[in-house]
Each structure stands twice: as structure tokens, then as C-alpha cells.
Amino acid sequence: MVNESGDIHQLGKDLGYLPYMIDRYITIFGEEETKELLQFNETKLPKTIRLNSLKNPPEETEKLLRKKQVVMERVKNLPEARRIIKSPIPIGASEEYLNGYYTLQGENSFYPTQILNPKEEDLVADLAAAPGGKTSHLAQLMKNNGTIIATEISTNRCRSLKSNLARMGVENTITINMDANDISLLDLKFDKILLDAPCSGSGIIISDPSRKSTKTSDDLLNYHELQVSLLTNAIDVLKPQGEIVYSTCSLEPEENELVITKILDSKPVKIEEIGVFGENGLLKFQNYNFNPEVVKAKHLYPHKSCGEGFFIVKMVKQK
């Protein structure tokens, strides 16, 4: 007789996952919930847009879209977001989109910027910023005041970053083609930093199914090293009492809790509670024991938040 776990492994194989991924999801979620996660990843997310007040008053944009028979609804806790229920026009290619009146943005990806909560006078760094969805959200929250330094290592991706920021009417941002590990070379101290780190992307399989099979367990450790390095260098350029939000779209503890545990051991930062729904950070995974403070971090798991998976933690630098 095939046990439940066997069924899940078969399901994972049928859906194209590498076997190690299923094993670890069973460890984190248990068998039933792993099945829910895999099934959720086979569904389609509704499109969500962010109304961009830098280019057009949001109520005006809503009117324009309703005139074109676009049906949308508000999203709880996200004032700038509208979930698209029905649209007879291509929502990612409309005239309003091309004018930057709104942009497409996954619901859960609003949270890292919202939690960072930049003020109008702040000097903010957005590390690994392309394609610029979060950068333009930061600029919107800052009402185009203050200054954002947006770094991006890839010259090609800098091009799309520049183009998206121009379309969205972002005026307060300087984009820099550099490895964020070298951020100290700029000789600046930041009030706030957003590090939405490069990651394995296991939280966004619903939008990018190729992630089921392209990242090995060794890749997770490589990402881990990169993330620790980026976060370490970011904290070094944060002002005392400055705030940093670290986020990934990965479900993997090596890229999340293990990174934060290492940082808490080596850097003068404290985790702050964030008022967001979601599951607390894990205390244990396989052979790893994490710093008890990481329970203050949040996981937005895809099947539980009905969106793309995110891990989010906010830290404050101590004097």
C-alpha cells in the first residue's frame, strides 16, 4: 500500500519538482499541507495592480479603468492595490499602464516596502533593485521626496530599472550599476534599507514553474552565502537606529532564518515585530537551530496567504 508520503512524492514528481524539495516541505508543513502547497502552485493568481499616485490621482485612474469595463476590488491592508476581477483590455499593456498610472505587482510583494515605511526626508537604499517595482513603490510612499539609491549588479537589468522608473514618474531615485556588496564604496549612511535579496524563488513557483526544477540544494547554500554577505554589507552602511527590511521570495530556511541567525550573531541589530499576518519564523529545521528572535520574522506561505511566498524581517541597528 502506498502511504500518504509516497503519494506526495509521486505528486511532486508528476508536477516536476526535484525530490529534495518535497522532502523539505514535508518537514516544514507536514504531508497534508505540502499537498495543499503543491496544489496551490498549480492555480493561477489574480492580477493585482498598484495605483501610482506619482503619475495620476488613483481615483482618476480607477475611473479610467472602470470606463474600459475593468472590474476590480480593493485589497485589505493595501490601500494602493486593486485586484483585477475581470478585464476586457490587456492590463499589462493598456494606455494607462504605459503612462505609469499603475503597475502590475503581486499582492504580497507590497509588504516589504510597506513595512520599511520610508519617510519623505529619508535617505533610502534599495539593493538589487531591478526591475524596480519595489523602488517605485518606495518613491510613491515618499511622495517623490527624500532620496533613494537603487543598486543593480546587471547592466541589462539596469536598463529595465531605468525605463520602469521613468514610466512611473520617479524623480527621487539615483540608480547605480554596482554589486550591492560594494555599497560602502559610496560612502553614504542610510536611514532605511530594503534588501529584497536574490534567492531561489521557491515562493514564486505559481508564477514561474521553472523554479520547481532549476535550483538544487547546493544552490540554496550558495544563495545563503550571498544573502549573508549582502545583508552584512547593508547593515554596515545603515545609520544607528536605522531600519532594514530583509525579504526573499523563498520558502527555504537556509535563505531566511539561517541568514538572520548568522546576522544576529555577528551584527548589532535587533528584530522588530511587524504587524503583518503570516506564520512566524521557524526555530528549527533539519539539523539547524535558529536564534529564538527569528520568530518575529514572518513567512507569507503561498497556500496560506493565497499569493506569492515571501519571508520578511525588519531589523533596527543598535548604537
Partner: protein
């Protein structure tokens, strides 16, 4: 570590004058208002990119000039002392100019020319070769193009006459963001 191949610098007096003069000559004197509390910065290259930057960013820019990829709003380009207004530059001057053509269809967004039959209205007495801002329904910005015939001729032209074309070297319609922007 990646160093910039290009240098960012403040526009020289002559470049400042050239850009402002071009915009005012082509689109009217009120367009000078787009430069209020802003500075022009140049990214060096064979074709120089022209950016409009908030004065408040200036302190930090001096410190970072060797690192910058882009900043503020890209408004156009300079090549051999000729300024070319681009998409976002034309968006900024839209409230201050009367060189506007309102169209009934959106083919301009696909890099296509505008025919007389597709024009809803125009608000100035333009001549052949003038630069015109194109808007669609609800006055939404489409881009900038060049008049193939003058306004007087347009009033009596055949419906299939081309009134406005995009520019050959670089299409300046918002559809560019989908075709090339990402």
C-alpha cells in the same frame, strides 16, 4: 566591482541653453516651467543622455557622479549639438504647450504614423516639420511625433494622408516601453 563607462555631470551653460531653447522654440515659452527647481544633468556618450534632476538631489550627486547609471527623469538626448526630446520629456511639457494633436485611434502606440482621418482635433497652427505631442482619448499621453504636413494643409487633406510620423532613429511613443523598455 563595476565602474561606469560613462560620466555624469552637470550640463554646461551652452548645453543648458541649447536644451531650453529647443524646447521653448518647438513647444512654446511656457514650457520653461518644467525646469523650475530642477537641474539638467548629462550622461556622456556618443549620444548624450539628458536628465532632469531635482535640485535637492544635487548634493549627493556630486559625491556619486562616477557611479551613476541614471537619475531623475530622462527627457531627451543630445547629438552633435542637436537636442531630441523623448517620451518622458514630452509628457512633462504637455501641460505647458499647445502643440498637441488628439487622435481617435491608438496606432501611434505601435510605432505607426497618424493619418488625417484618425485625428480628433489639434490645438495649434503648426507647420510641416514641427514637433507635436500626441494624446488619445481622455487626453492620455501617447508620445511625440513630427508633422508631415502643416495644419492648414491638414484641414483640406485626403483622409489617408499622413499627418504625423514618429522619428526614424528612435520611436517616441509609449508603446516603446513594451517593445524595448524591459
Amino acid at each position: 566591482m563595476i565602474m561606469n563607462d560613462f560620466t555624469f555631470r552637470r550640463a554646461s551653460n551652452s548645453e543648458n541653453e541649447l536644451v531650453k531653447k529647443h524646447i521653448q522654440e518647438k513647444f512654446g515659452s511656457k514650457t520653461i516651467q518644467i525646469f523650475s527647481h530642477k537641474q539638467i544633468w548629462i550622461k556622456e556618450g556618443r549620444i548624450k543622455e539628458v536628465f532632469l534632476v531635482r535640485e535637492k538631489l544635487e548634493n549627493i550627486l556630486d559625491k556619486l557622479s562616477e557611479w551613476i547609471y541614471s537619475m531623475g527623469i530622462p527627457i531627451g538626448s543630445l547629438c552633435e549639438d542637436m537636442f531630441q526630446l523623448e517620451i518622458e520629456g514630452s509628457y512633462l511639457i504637455l501641460p505647458y504647450t499647445s502643440n498637441i494633436i488628439k487622435v481617435k485611434t491608438n496606432q501611434f502606440l505601435y510605432g505607426k504614423p497618424i493619418f488625417v482621418e484618425n485625428v480628433d482635433s489639434f490645438t495649434s497652427d503648426f507647420n510641416k516639420g514641427d514637433h507635436l505631442i500626441i494624446i488619445g482619448n481622455n487626453d492620455i499621453h501617447y508620445g511625440v511625433g513630427k508633422a508631415e504636413i502643416g495644419a492648414r494643409e491638414a484641414n483640406s487633406a485626403q483622409p489617408n494622408t499622413i499627418l504625423v510620423k514618429g522619428l526614424q532613429n528612435k520611436p517616441l511613443d509609449r508603446g516603446w516601453y513594451l517593445r524595448k523598455g524591459n
